[in-house]
Symmetry: C2
């Protein structure tokens, strides 16, 4: 899992080449005015730009992916994301939906949370459970964010 | 900033080549029985193995480094580490000690915290402020950890 802030001039220092390239492309965009919905970041790499209201984390399920890395970038608002670093026990997840590449679990073992400010990002590798879109200080608010879906095959490119 | 768990078989997927290599070397060590003190992880890369009691985070100062990346790996116990992702305002830090490569600030802007379990690691790049060694749930406890000091010149190797 990686955390960073696109506003920094040195954000790419912690990133492997593929993430550095994709985050440079994100930084070059007019994020606040980006249209909503699915679009290409580059050939073969799609991203989804969303606006929604954050919700309390209690009772929400955590997700993990197998075939895609998530680059979750906050554009406006504040967002809390729960995550787990330990190897997930897949027996505690429901069935894997191959077509949509996700499966859910009611609880993250050794759960941590990070609060993102605008331009901050979290990168979740396959099998890293996460629950995004949570309210900060139990105060739901509107946010704009995007999620880049990076095919796992690009990790070694 | 990077977070991971050496216990996982896939921990290196999120890491750039230099961190993957160094973390593979850490994983091959008998961490629990590692002697305390400074030692070489590889030629030119030193690490410090420590045992100490965690303390409450209130009133502690945060540090940042300029010339070295920290790979902070927890070996036993539980540790909470405060960190900030935003570009630090150096005017809020005290003087930089070049010989020891650190400077301190009373407070981290947009502070977050992560709780590490044994074998989990946090990697702090230069200019990423962090306050390690904090008690979890306000319960001080003994822990064993190590910090690898990675010269920033190795980032592009």
């Amino acid at each position: 899992m990686l955390l960073g802030d696109l506003s920094r001039s040195d954000f790419q220092h912690s990133l492997s080449p593929v993430f550095a390239r994709l985050c440079q492309k994100l930084k070059a965009l007019d994020l606040v005015n980006l249209p909503l919905g699915w679009q290409d970041l580059e050939e073969g790499v799609r991203m989804n730009v969303m606006e929604f209201e954050t919700t309390l984390s209690e009772g929400k399920k955590a997700e993990l992916h197998r075939k895609f890395v998530d680059i979750q970038l906050l554009i406006s608002g504040q967002e809390s994301i729960d995550y787990g670093l330990a190897q997930p026990n897949l027996a505690l997840f429901d069935e894997y939906r191959e077509e949509d590449d996700y499966q859910l679990t009611p609880e993250i073992e050794h759960k941590n949370s990070v609060i993102l400010q605008p331009n901050m990002f979290a990168i979740f590798l396959p099998y890293e459970p996460h629950t995004p879109g949570n309210a900060v200080n139990n105060q739901p608010q509107m946010l704009k964010k995007l999620v880049v879906k990076v095919p796992v095959e690009l990790l070694n490119s």
